[in-house]
Amino acid sequence: MGDIDHGPRILVEFSFFGLCDVKISQTVLSSFLVMIFLIILSAVLGKGLKKRPTKRQVLVEKAVSMLDNLVRDTMGAHNRVFVPYIGALFCSSVFGSLISLLGVFRSATADLSTTITWALITSVLVWANNIKRNGILGWLKGFTEPVAPMTPMNIISEVAQPVSMAFRHFGNIAGGSVLTSLIYAALAAGSHAVLSWIPNKVISAIPIFQIGIPAVLSIYFDLFAGVLQAFVFCMLTMVYVGAACPPPEESKAEKTE
């Protein structure tokens, strides 16, 4: 069990001007690479926009309008202010998971720190909007509804929202990478068992079964799971925040009267 995935390795450790120790782990490296890639991608795709769109501009406009329609259908037309955040979250999640296809990098989302940060942002959005609507005391009183003995259950379910979102995303991606490394080890053992009758020491050590089979599995574990989990995370964020920001009907009714 020596070379099994044990969590993100610390790559570089240095002291920041003597104030504190800075540790750069694989997750930090992957996150920075994803950020740089997304900045360059948006700069390249967003420059030179014309009224008569080129082919590339048509594709980009289609993607943006799909995102806009998705947010409008899920959260309501009054919540279009969240479209950039949902787009950034989806792109960070998808490219953070897919960067492991490049071989040497570890997915940024295979670290609980990344996913719990995003889940806490969602929860803070929900709580802040609840407090803005009802005030702090109103929000705290909301935990005692419908009856006072339900308070611990309400608190637990409120804490369970971000925890479950974070663990779902982390477990799918990190579990996939652990399973892939276990399968690599099993295939190496299997090919050693099959090839050990060859007297040549070099040839019998080639892990021949490691060619091809992990690539087929990575279609499910990396591609499908990465994109699906990013989509699920964004859908849950939209549903929770959309429920905390209802349409402002009452103030409009008062103004027209």
Binding site: H6, R168, G171, A174, F231, V232
Partner: protein, 78 residues
Amino acid sequence: MEALTRGLIALGAGLCMGLGAIGPAIGEGNAVGKALEGMARQPEVTSTLRTNMLLGCAVTESTGIYSLVIALLLLFVF
């Protein structure tokens, strides 16, 4: 004592993942079955049904993923 600890850890991890895999599988089978029924009744909403079915399956899968995380924690950390 070391062997007993390792043995109990392995037993715990196996039971955790094994029992935790039952629930989500049954639930997702039901969800996909209902989605297929809907698609057979009304083929024009197939893509909507497929999207919502995948969404529901991913959320239902989450308790199975919790069991996987606990099993991996037991095996590789303890």
